[in-house]
Symmetry: C2
Subunit: 476 residues, 2 copies
């Protein structure tokens, strides 16, 4: 039976966990901080993978697979990289019954192992660019974890590209940021800000980190994808040079970019309600559930009618027919609302006679009678309407919860009540950034790429002239 979901207003964190657990998306694993992605959560991940992978391939990328285990010495080759990741490493010290000569770390990200291979594969500009992505698991020993949003092990994709020029690498970095933005907005129906991280928030080893940030329903920000311009940092650490067209030798230029099972958390938090999960049709593993409503004497006819409908729709939609006669229709309605299936079709004896079905939208609860002969076309339009409406609702929420702070007091006020994104002038000094973090727990989420003119405003912290308009927010 559908279990009770704590309302958002009562306890937002508990609401989120209740949805994940009760909709059977994931469960806690026996190892601290790890999760089991259950079939319903994994089906969503498969939809995400398929969508992203299609966008990667359309932009010329290919998949490969690099080893899980990385010699500890590799991680140490790039100074900032090891500083950033050392505290989170899981280390294999014994294998095959013996102590290893050199400990191996489980990949927290794969720049080092991949660049050790690129050294073998790249000699000349003719070997470039390399546009490789991999889908894999990652371990980062996290202190505080939350299902999907931050787990010790997670699934992700990581792209690692190698280029002959800095300009090409920069272009690739921004192209992939664009891919993430497209995916978030058009597939997940989650509007995102895109921009660049400050130095203190960038990836350990990057020259610059770009990101997309989405606002959740508790007004906190969630980083949903990052794209790093790595310059020549890893090429230098692994001594990867190539012969240029003019026969000189240069270090290779690099990017890396990743998105993870965290996206599932973003989808849940952006759209769901107190009845359970709400999924954007484009990513929903099941788009339509058909619930036949019958008594003993009408069962055969109604189920036959429902099966025919299912068979007709199955060519164009991911459709489920629930013929079970142990649970009541009411129970099923709640269950599929909990599961977030975008549209429910109800079919009873009277509908059958009239050649119609009742369509119920998961997002709004709106009901409509649809002639069976038009079911396909109507559903197609309905899916598009739901997809658009989820996006627009999230966008309005973000707009309504984005503020401009003129001074430090206002920054703190907006962050506390109601929360959200707060735009404010920033001088560019890490000390000012650190003070905000220390005193408000908010960070600079990004410096917008469509750079707003500062208009001569002062830094919200120190009052000096602002270099950027920064977006501040509390984050997951």
């Amino acid at each position: 039976m559908a279990q009770k979901i704590t309302p958002r207003a009562t306890d937002y964190s508990q609401w989120y966990i209740d949805i994940v657990i009760n909709a059977k998306l994931a469960d806690y694993a026996p190892v601290k901080g790890c999760m089991v992605v259950r079939p319903r959560g994994y089906a969503l991940w498969e939809r995400i993978q398929q969508g992203l992978d299609g966008l990667f391939k359309a932009t010329g990328h290919v998949n490969a697979y690099f080893p899980l285990l990385i010699p500890e010495s590799f991680i140490k080759k790039e100074a900032e990289h090891v500083e950033g990741f050392a505290p989170e490493l899981a280390v294999v010290t014994h294998a095959g019954g013996e102590k290893l000569e050199e400990p191996l770390v489980i990949r927290p990200t794969s720049e080092t192992i991949i660049w050790s291979m690129y050294k073998k594969w790249i000699q000349s500009y003719r070997d470039l660019p390399i546009l490789i992505n991999q889908w894999c698991n990652i371990i980062r020993w996290e202190k505080r974890t939350r299902l999907f949003l931050r787990t010790t092990e997670f699934l992700w994709q990581e792209g690692h590209t190698a280029h002959a020029t800095s300009a090409e690498a920069e272009e690739e970095t921004l192209r992939m940021l664009g891919v993430y933005r497209t995916f978030a907005e058009e597939y997940m129906a989650v509007p995102v800000l895109h921009g660049v991280k400050t130095d203190s928030e960038k990836f350990a080893g990057a020259v610059r980190t770009y990101c997309i940030e989405a606002m959740m329903q508790d007004r906190k920000s969630l980083q949903a994808g990052t794209s790093h311009y790595l310059g020549q940092n890893f090429a230098k650490a692994f001594d990867v040079t190539f012969q240029t067209k003019d026969k000189t030798l240069d270090h290779v230029w690099a990017t890396s970019w990743g998105a993870s099972t965290r996206l599932i958390g973003a989808i849940i938090m952006a759209h769901s309600d107190d009845k359970g999960l709400v999924l954007p049709p484009r990513l929903a593993p099941i788009e339509v559930v058909i619930v036949p409503i019958f008594k003993n004497e009408t069962k055969d006819a109604v189920v036959a009618f429902a099966r025919k409908l299912r068979d007709t729709l199955a060519a164009d939609f991911r459709v489920l027919l629930d013929e079970d006669d142990q649970n009541t229709p009411g129970w099923k309605f709640s269950e599929y609302e909990l599961q977030g299936i975008p549209v429910r079709l109800e079919v009873g004896p009277r509908d059958m006679e009239k050649g119609q079905v009742v369509a119920v939208r998961r997002d709004t609860g709106e009901k409509a009678f649809i002639p069976v002969s038009e079911a396909g076309a109507t559903l197609r339009a309905l899916m598009q309407a739901i997809q658009t409406s989820l996006y627009q609702r999230a966008l309005k929420f973000r707009t309504d919860n984005t503020f401009r702070a003129r001074d430090y007091a206002e920054l703190g006020k907006f962050l506390d009540d109601p929360g959200g994104f707060v735009e404010a002038g920033w001088c560019g000094d890490a000390a000012c950034e650190a003070r905000v973090k220390e005193e408000t727990k908010a960070t600079i989420r990004l410096l917008p790429l469509d750079k707003k003119e500062t208009g001569g405003v002062p830094c919200v912290v120190c009052g000096k002239s602002a270099r950027d308009i920064a977006v501040f927010g509390r984050a997951y």
Copy 2:
């Protein structure tokens, strides 16, 4: 440029490695025994995954993801399981900068972690069956490794199902053996024997292990997939009970089954030749390569013609057009032969005038002139012909290299010359099996499921009455 492949007759092992490395399917990783699956190898793995995953879903299975790290104590809960896997474990002793209270092992297979979760999820017969599969990476610390065939880390799928009765679990075990057999024969074009392993060769923790075995071109056997009937072994180890329909309590019945990146090795070894890889069309990432043949003055016209052909074919085939003008057509022919693309289409100015293309089969080298207007239909037939022909050739090779030994001397003789599968009577005694292994390095690959009548023959070793006709062979 296409590098030299050592001929099979000179050095079969080196031939295999030359193909893997030169066709850029995989490369050696910096960690001993690990491999990097390069984009061409991974594209083949993606085709394999897609095919198998479709067969799994068609038989009612869903995917999920369980953690990489398993508490050491879990592995020890099933006595045979730990005995089998303990020598191959990689152990994480430190994480997050601290020594762990309990070491964690990297999964060598996931029965234990999965059954620890099934304990939470299964209470009643209503929760059964559970039909879960996962695609993931595995670590087994192997002493002797060979790219794809046996590597310390490999990619695989592992199905783990839970059932209310022994009969259902047995049925599932055989169903999945059938899926592997279908996949090997119809997708990989590799004929396989199917049968049951002897006790000494079965999976550590299984009641019975079924397998498919394929003969490679050096007449050695390769185990290409296994399906295990686990009885109640893991349910007992993890105390997983359920309320039956009659309100009694019983331990749950289980199966597990897996196939890995080793399948790539099987495909290479079964079909390839001294020019390089030969791929079955159904799994080839690229089915057709178009090589335009032109001089400076004809380039534009020929390339335009080739592009039109590519665009026409692209709706039905995975097609590549190589427009490069740095490499000669001859170089390209060798390169795509090395890569194993099933059909090459050559188009020159004269072909263009005649409205034809030259089609060259990778498997036989046969050439045919095809009218462009019939290219699609002809290619469709050609792909089918190649797929069938590869299978038939491999089947004939296996038939030609399967022998019946009447006595121990004959068993040894056939195993040495020419090698292959040797059928012989076996009494069922592990000692006889062990003697063969010790003295000939051959093992019982399987006891065929379509059980041959022993016809009263004696055990090939001890001369006592045979219980089975066993298939002996040397194996990878």
